[in-house]
Subunit: 325 residues, 2 copies
């Protein structure tokens, strides 16, 4: 009798596991169906489009794809907060016009200074500590800082549907990587807790790191200077450098992801390209072709002919943020 | 009865698995015992020195640690072979003194030209193809090329005891990485077949790679120019960039591995540093402090106080190569 009961319980568990919805925050409809169909196809050993687990590589942009990026990249907000602290200890920082205007008028001034301004602020504010100290500092900031408009902790503004998608892919034998234009150490400070992605599966822009023996207590120190920009054509280069395999699944939200999407889609066999389209001005922000942050223009034009799924956040997502009140 | 039989079989299997020697090519003695003790300690949940699987990161140098490196790095022999082919198509190559002398007098001339000469020959010979073409070319070469002294295919000159060690560590829940001064694409051409290490666990020196859209057939092209030298202090930097965790186990054979060994050993908790000492002039090559290839001097001096195991190849290894005749 016990055995029959155990068997019945096991069967019930299996049935329930099979029928549980892996993507509950996705609206029932075409977008969700396409994702599930793809995953079921590449994991079905009987399918001609079966893909071995070792080749199930999925890559995700971070800013605007896994969490919000308005009114400015969250890392930039961190950089300005940190610059403000540095200026208290080192008044010379305020003598530099860019930094002074940034600290006086907040992040709008960085945006006006364009990419060069952004890189300078990030470099100045990130240089100095060891890698370990830097990551600890970012984690402290993530604990205490609040988004200027929503009042939420930044890690509450990760996208619930994408967190579900990451988990679904991993449960289906995929390796999930972040391929971010953001700094590699910044993203690593949150990737495991926020997305279940360990440090070795984070690819990002990389500053100079210097090894110091330090009298037998070696450290890796963060220097000023950038050695790799993981954006645009840098994304396929970063993927090759870190993974050495062409992904079969790529998700992004801006023109900075165009080349990653192209590179992924051009491989043989089944491929999935996804663009998260910010269409929800009520629950998040609505922007695409004219936005200085996360501009989506060329990649949106390329989507139909490339067969990429354009996710309509307003329509396809039942819920936006993991920490939605 | 069937159940009793099954239980007995299971028990027999478990007993046999537990008593099977994971390192049969290692001589019974202190070196082998230290390795096994370390692995058993960090994998024992009851031990105060237990390490979770996610933190069981092991890093290995390649040249001189996982395969031979005499009379010159095998990648350099490949580079000269490739330069010779290129010179047939492009006579201008022979007009450059370094390249002409290399091709006329073989690799001795490269060694005389020092590291600059080595880098120039490798850059010239490796630039041009796509990453995929390059890896295919290296694999062709590995199939057909033979070592000038042993007559063996180069991949037969991988070290059997180290291949066993890699497998033993993986079977014990470790992630095994190669951290090589050699080129990342060169090492990836053989890492999976030779060592069971997939491309995403290979860290190496990296040349410029350029993304080209190529009319909808995107490629990653190998350009001349080096962006990262994974040697000496570059090794901890490469480990941080790719893995983002400090290894608990590191193995090398030369001063180029000194900083990787320091970085690994300086972490908290149990740590294992290993130096493969080339002491076997009869079965392989005997060299250390005075060798232009694989010089082992400072790291050998640092070994005793650092607690690193110095493996005496002549004494500690019953067998040298995987393809030993």
């Amino acid at each position: 009798m016990k055995q029959v009961l155990a068997a019945a319980l096991a069967l019930a568990f299996l049935t329930s596991a099979a029928s549980a919805d892996p993507l509950p925050s996705w609206t029932e409809g075409a977008a969700k169906t396409r994702i599930v169909d793809f995953v079921e196809t590449v994991t079905d050993p009987a399918s001609p489009d079966y893909v071995t687990p070792a080749a199930r590589i999925a890559v995700f942009d971070n800013d605007g794809t896994l969490w919000s990026e308005q009114p400015a990249y969250f890392q930039l907000i961190y950089a300005v907060d940190r610059l403000r602290e540095q200026a208290q200890d080192d008044p010379a920082i305020m003598e530099q016009e860019l930094f002074r205007s940034v600290l006086e008028s907040d992040i709008d001034a960085v945006m006006e200074a364009g990419e060069t301004g952004l890189v300078e602020v990030v470099m100045q504010s990130h240089a100095g500590p060891s890698v370990g100290e830097f990551i600890a500092d970012v984690r402290d900031w993530l604990e205490t800082a609040r988004h200027p408009q929503t009042g939420l902790p930044y890690t509450d503004m990760t996208y619930q549907p994408m967190v579900e998608l990451l988990r679904y892919l991993r449960d289906s034998g995929f390796s999930t990587y972040i391929v971010s234009g953001g700094g590699i150490h910044f993203v690593r400070a949150l990737s495991d807790d926020a997305y279940g992605i360990p440090t070795e599966q984070v690819i990002g822009s990389t500053g100079k790191t210097r090894y110091e023996f330090n009298d037998g207590n070696p450290i890796l120190a963060k220097d000023a200077g950038i050695v790799f920009i993981d954006d645009g054509p840098g994304k396929p280069v970063g993927i090759d450098g870190k993974i050495g395999k062409r992904p079969i699944f790529a998700a992004g939200n801006s023109d900075g992801d165009l080349q990653m999407l192209q590179w992924t889609s051009a491989g043989d066999g089944p491929r999935f390209g996804m663009i998260v389209h910010h269409t929800d001005g009520a629950r998040e922000w609505a922007y695409d072709r004219d936005s200085p942050i996360g501009r989506l223009d060329k990649a949106l034009d390329a989507a139909p002919e490339s067969g990429w799924l354009v996710v309509d956040m307003a329509k396809d997502w039942q819920r936006i943020w993991t920490g939605q009140p």
